[in-house]
Amino acid sequence: MNIKRYIIGALAVAFGFVGATAQVDRSLAVIKAMLHGFEYEVYAGTNIGGASPLPLPAEIREINSYSPELNLQIGATVTKWMDVQKKWGLSLGVRLETKGMETKAAVKNYGMAIIQDGATVSGRWTGMVQTRYHSQQLVFPLTAVFKAHKRLKVHAGPYVAFAFSNDFDGYVYDGYLREGDPTGPKISFEGDSRANYDFGDNLRHFQWGMQGGVTWTAYKHLLVNANLAWGCNDIFESSFKTVTFNLYPIYLNVGFGYLF
């Protein structure tokens, strides 16, 4: 309720300089009416998911291990209810979150070309690939909200995200490379032999996608959230050809929120 007052106050200051006292009174009334039907929420949660190709290419034979890393998020949402019964609304949010994952996968005949300083090493890798993806982002979702039940809200909509810290690295090990194509020379990597890679510089800074989820009101002010955020663009820049397929960030956010 304090926030409402502050916002009203700030808006009043902004608008209040226009016109006389009587107009100020009327402006305040207008503003009060505008602000009626807003809900504010802050929340914290965790992200589980990863950057995945869709569909999984046949070259990926097995996901041997997956670790989501501790991906935390905190955020705030403003919801404006459009109707008196508060059944339909529009939400605008902001959240600061980490999207991360670490995987070990077994691949077969997996095409790759690593381009560095103008020179290229390309070929087919059969063996193990360890990948770590870590991105810290500021995300702005804009969602439509439907109150299905007294305690249950369903929401869906697009989001845009700005990744201000981006890592994508790992190494290949326990396998072999066929240089050029599958008929090329075979170079083995066994035991401790491995080749490291780091493609962090080729990650996009701007992502967008769709998200959809539910919010359950546990108590008057306590919310439980679950949300699936599905990236619609490749995490890599389009000029980056080394990873031949697109990787989409698909994350499930779960957490708790506080409703003002």
Binding site: L56, A58, K186, I187, E190, L252
Partner: protein, 383 residues
């Protein structure tokens, strides 16, 4: 935190189950190699040699002098799932090289191997490094030099190719040409052209695999690409059958070590101040046995290697440097209690390895970048 963790664990469980069900059926094999080739043991002087490179796929059988090459039935082991035509075990006339085509299981890739069966032709003993051919070093258009020696009995027939680490270096070198490689043919030899061996940096790719430099090297034997990253000391296979008794190694060399000696520590190069790089030129006369067909970086100079009969090598002062062309003449020092069996000598059981490198510890990726060794008019002197 705990409840977040619990949620994470549950979601990981369900998503892993879901993801596993998304894994598609195993694709058919795309590879089509001859993995091994054999003829009955009593017919062979030494095991078959398979060369698998971008431009050359060949299998060479060296058969004993009494063997008739017009009717031989070699057997081949190929990549699982692949097919070979004509079939393994087919009787063919090897008076001329015969072709076999291996096709991959998925039908999209094939390789044609040229299979040769011939009697052994002793290698030449004098090397002027005048004959080099330019060959592909990678699939990016990179090219490198390869030195060829001809048969003493027929100067039109190439019967030995000097090996080097160039094909391994090729992985890191993109489109660049022969003069950028660790081993190349150089001008300004003592007579005509000569062999140039320079220690190079392997750039970003070499650093990726923990092998930040490559010494120039040239040796009699074979470079096994498969182990280039895995077991680099075993990738250099030294030696070939030798039918004479060697007593000396002589020739001309000049060497200038690079500025900074670097040592490999934890996959990176660290400078060792005050240490100066050395080159190495040596020849080893040894006996081939079933468990030691070749010598390699692990055992070629080992004091306790029972197969080694004699070694000829530059001494320490000679290895440190020579500003101008300098003649060297080192004798083979025979190890005590080693006697030669004339029958083994005649059957090619004994072998010779000649090895040259611009950085004495190049096999351990330590040395000075820029160390440059040039060798010309090399000769193995025999009884």
């Amino acid at each position: 935190m705990k409840i977040f963790r619990l949620m994470q664990v549950m979601t990981v469980f369900f998503s892993t189950v879901w993801l596993s069900s998304c894994i598609e059926n195993e694709p058919l094999n795309a590879e089509c190699d001859i993995v091994s080739a054999s003829l009955p043991e009593e017919l062979l002087v030494r095991p078959a040699e398979i060369v698998d490179r971008k431009d050359v796929h060949s299998v060479t059988f060296i058969v004993k002098n009494f063997v008739d090459v017009t009717a031989l039935a070699p057997e081949f082991e190929i990549t699982p799932g692949a097919t070979i035509a004509p079939a393994s075990g087919t009787v063919r006339d090897f008076s001329d090289p015969q072709e076999y085509t291996v096709t991959s299981e998925d039908g999209e890739w094939s390789k044609t191997y040229t299979v040769i069966a011939k009697h052994d032709d002793p290698i030449a003993l004098k090397y002027s490094f005048e004959n080099a051919r330019v060959v592909p070093a990678n699939s990016q258009g990179g090219m490198c030099d390869e030195f060829v020696e001809f048969s003493p009995t027929d100067p039109n027939v190439p019967n030995m190719v000097w090996a080097s680490g160039n094909q391994g270096f090729g992985l890191t070198n993109g489109k660049k040409g022969p003069e950028t490689y660790p081993t190349f043919q150089a001008d300004n030899g003592v007579v005509g052209r000569c062999a140039g061996l320079v220690t190079r940096s392997t750039g970003t790719f070499g650093a990726m695999v923990g092998m930040p430099l490559a010494a120039g090297n040239l040796f009699i034997g074979k470079f096994d690409m498969t182990n280039a990253v895995n077991k680099p000391l075993e990738a250099t296979q030294f030696g070939t059958s030798f039918y004479y008794v060697p007593i000396g190694l002589r020739g001309y060399y000049r060497y200038a070590p690079g500025e900074k000696f670097m040592k490999l520590v934890d996959r990176k190069l660290v400078e060792v101040p005050g240490r100066i790089d050395e080159c190495d030129i040596y020849a080893v006369f040894y006996e081939r046995t079933a468990d030691m067909e070749y010598l390699d970086g692990n055992n070629v100079l080992s004091d306790d290697n029972p197969n080694i009969i004699a070694v000829a090598r530059l001494d320490e002062d000679q290895r440190k440097g020579a500003a101008d062309w300098t003649h060297f003449d080192v004798e083979f020092k025979y190890r005590p209690d080693k006697s030669l069996d004339p029958e083994k000598l005649e059957n090619g059981v004994y072998a010779l390895a000649v090895v040259m490198t611009s950085s004495i510890e190049g096999a351990k990726f330590s040395g000075a970048i820029g160390s440059a060794l040039f060798v010309d008019e090399l000769e193995v002197v025999c009884l």
